[in-house]
């Protein structure tokens, strides 16, 4: 099984994530699929994370949290957020197969970020929906 994203889709994704999220001053944003593949990886140029390891762990973590939810009879937990001393990480599921990972400092308001994430998710859905997969 595989899926393809073409240049136009990837450009669109990058542009949407840049204008809606990166301009808020967040550190990085990574769009991955639930298998742990990295689709888009953007950062502010100041950091260099090990993005592939991060993606593998984020996909695994998300899967584990979803499995816990189902064991206790919840469909899913809506808040997937880890708070650090200076950096924070937020996970947002997009459709069933994708995950948006946002890493940001304390200067960014979580509420406002969430609002912008909701906006960008709609754009991402439209872009990804055109995907040919098999």
């Amino acid at each position: 099984m595989s899926y393809i994203l073409d240049q136009e889709q990837l450009d669109g994704l990058e542009e949407a994530l840049t204008t809606d999220l990166m301009t808020l001053g967040i550190q990085s944003v990574i769009l991955i699929d639930m298998a742990g593949n990295v689709i888009v990886n953007l950062d502010d140029g100041k950091v260099r994370h090990d993005v592939y390891s991060l993606a593998a762990l984020a996909a695994g973590n998300f899967g584990a949290v979803s499995a816990m939810a189902s064991i206790i009879g919840e469909e899913e937990f809506s808040l997937l957020f880890h708070k650090g001393k200076s950096e924070n990480i937020n996970f947002t599921k997009i459709m069933d197969d994708f995950l948006l990972v946002s890493i940001f400092g304390n200067d960014v308001s979580l509420g406002y970020l969430r609002l912008k994430i909701d906006e960008v998710i709609n754009k991402i859905k439209v872009l990804i929906d055109r995907t040919g997969s098999s």
């Binding site: 240049q7 990837l10 593949n37 090990d50 593998a56 695994g60 197969d97």
Partner: protein
């Protein structure tokens, strides 16, 4: 679920090492890591118990040149082999593109190999995958133990137990010594790529 990126000309595939507990899955990845660590930036990620058993997975990115102009990036994972960790084992198989089944050649592990393979079939079924449809390579590991006088299964027996129907490629190996580890993984990647290559324009 392989991801084909036409912009960066990159294919990402997920290869998962499966097999009975203590069979040598993590040792395979550790050997590969020792061979490539000088040229990759990332570390091997291991989520394990204090006793060094895999709890969730090991992860190692592995690049293997280009095919049809696409750079092939393989993400290598291991699952936990212990029976009790089926919940996390199942999670790691999500989106799997190819499998290396690491079987333990020690005589008293024969049943463990068979039940691990049955468990794999069940877990794949959960994702609507028939084991006959997914690229898979068998590795008969720990062949070095024969040298220490420890009884090991002969290859014909292991083939009959595990690979009689699938007739997949198989290798004898010693993950500890590094024998046939790289050929196993290269074979697994190449048959995985063949399965998706029509999509590479």
């Amino acid at each position: 679920m392989a991801f084909i990126n036409t912009k960066t000309k990159e294919v990402q595939v997920k290869l998962v090492f499966v097999g009975p507990g203590r069979g040598g899955k993590t040792t395979n990845l550790e050997y590969i890591f020792s061979r490539i660590r000088h040229r990759i930036e990332s570390d091997m990620v291991s989520i394990k118990t204090q006793g060094d058993r895999t709890l969730f997975f090991d992860f190692l990115p592995f690049e293997l040149g280009a095919i049809k102009g696409y750079n092939v990036k393989t993400q290598l994972y291991t699952v936990p082999g212990q029976i009790k960790y089926n919940a996390t084992r199942k999670l790691v198989l999500k989106g799997v593109d190819g499998i290396v089944f690491v079987a333990d050649s020690m005589v008293d592990r024969r049943e463990n190999n068979i039940s691990a393979l049955n468990n794999l079939k069940e877990n794949l079924k959960f994702y609507d995958i028939d084991i006959a449809d997914i690229p898979i390579v068998f590795q008969y590991n720990k062949r070095d133990m024969a040298m220490e006088g420890i009884p090991i299964l002969d290859v014909e027996t292991m083939e009959k137990d595990l690979n009689a129907q699938l007739k997949a490629p198989s290798f004898t190996a010693s993950a500890l010594k590094g024998d046939n580890v790289v050929p196993t993984v290269k074979k697994a990647i190449s048959i995985t790529i063949v399965a998706i290559r029509e999509k590479l324009l």
